[in-house]
Amino acid sequence: MKALFWRDIRLAVRAGGGFGLALAFFLIVVILVPFGVGPERAVLTRIAPGIVWVAALLACLLSLDRIFALDHEDGTLPLLATAPIPLEGVVLAKAAAHWVVTGVPLTLAAPVFGFLLNMEAGAYLWLVISLAIGTPALSMIGAFGAALTIGIKRGGLLLSLLVLPLYVPVLVFGADAVRRGAEGLSVATPLMILAAITMGVLAAMPFAAAAVLRINLR
């Protein structure tokens, strides 16, 4: 599993892997929003937590199909399925690698983008913490969606249609934690629920994703 994890990260970081693309996409979305809603600082301050979260979610979505599609095309996936590690472990390792190359950079870069959107000073810390808690769930749910659509040619749009509704709870609680942080309220409740969702997803979703992979590889 460790070898698989590092292999996926190396593949993503080296040329053509798409590392950094998610980050660039994140940047573009955040830059486009002021063009859309106007440059008034008060408005941007108000919507900044939600925009940063939605942008992070879309950036995460962008690279999901890479989790399994390339391995499925070149035949690595059936080999992995017959390897002496459980398929659930394969899914978990791949989702973790996806998180390291998209979720972690997004989390680290988010304060800069918050700055662009004139976010409240009190919200930065909570933005980083909520993204750090929430993005693993995004990668894991995404891995499930990617596993569902590996057999489908040009499944990218279908993948977004399947995955985005599943992202709703994470988005609600993640963005709410930041909003409360910006207003100086207690952030404990949304953060705890967010952590509960992430842990639940990490515990249960590998089984669903592995079941889906087995069906697709049949």
């Binding site: 499930f144 569902l148 659509t149 057999g151 489908i152 499944g155 279908l158 249609l161 399947l162 985005l164 509704p165 599943l166 709703v168 709870p169 609600v172 609680f173 709410d176 629920i193 969702i197 979703m205 669903a208 079941a211 889906v212 069906i215 697709n216 049949r218």
Partner: protein, 246 residues
């Protein structure tokens, strides 16, 4: 009688074919009685006036929008655990009906909301949950359409339905947490002290029963059609194979 007998598509078709016209007749009849009763023989609400009468479409469709998904969940579980082929097809057949019911509920809700709340749409927890439910239906139907092999499609959509149900519940509570609502609380609960007044309640229940019977009739009809379509596909495949052999 057990549901396992009806895993045999031939037996299923033979049993439901005589039932379908009766179910349609009873459902349509009950719906006609319920709607006429509701529209013409109930008083106007003292605050809402005659707009209250859209309740006879809004509540039954919303009721079925949720229960169609619940039925799909049960059918998916039966398929995934025991490989009951007709069950998988019934889940497939229910999805377009469910999505239509969701749309009817959203549309009648908007028409009702305009005079009552002064807006067609509000980001209210119930409304938002229904919109999310609509998206789940779309994803489910799209996945069925995208996969050519019927057994693979049945397996994958079943798992999507199970995972989606969990997330639909989560989204429902997330939406409750996220916004205050304009929509009233449940007012048809069996265990509540105060409910809708009897004059409105009786035709409403009749309409809900009628919608449910119609829903079942549609599911049976659509499932039978799915079975026939599969049979045709199998026959065509066999015909093509025999041509190749010659």
């Amino acid at each position: 009688m057990s549901i396992w007998e009806y895993a045999n598509p031939k037996k299923f078709t033979a049993t439901v074919t005589p039932i379908i016209p009766w179910a349609f007749a009873i459902g349509l009849g009950a719906l006609a009685v319920g709607l006429i009763w509701g529209f013409f023989f109930t008083p106007d609400d003292y605050r809402q006036g005659s707009t209250v009468k859209i309740i006879y479409l809004h509540v039954p469709s919303a009721f079925l929008a949720i229960n169609a998904w619940a039925m799909m969940l049960v059918a998916s579980l039966i398929w995934i655990i025991r490989r009951h082929h007709v069950s998988a097809l019934a889940a497939k057949a229910a999805a377009p009906v469910g999505v239509t019911m969701t749309l009817i509920a959203l549309a009648t809700g908007a028409i009702w909301g305009q005079p009552m709340w002064g807006t067609w749409w509000a980001w209210d927890p119930r409304l938002t949950s229904f919109l999310i439910l609509f998206l789940f239906y779309l994803g489910y139907i799209a996945l069925w359409e995208a996969i050519p092999d019927p057994d693979t499609a049945a397996d994958l959509t079943s798992i999507l339905c199970i995972v989606g149900s969990i997330f639909a519940f989560l989204s429902r509570y997330a939406a409750n947490y996220w916004a205050q609502g304009l929509h009233q609380r449940a007012s048809l609960s069996l265990d509540a002290e105060e409910n809708v007044a009897d004059v409105f309640w009786q035709p409403l229940v009749l309409c809900m029963v009628a919608f449910t019977i119609l829903f079942l009739a549609l599911i049976l009809l659509r499932t039978r059609t799915e079975i026939a379509k599969r049979r045709i596909a199998a026959l065509e495949l066999r015909a093509r194979r025999s041509e190749v052999r010659i």
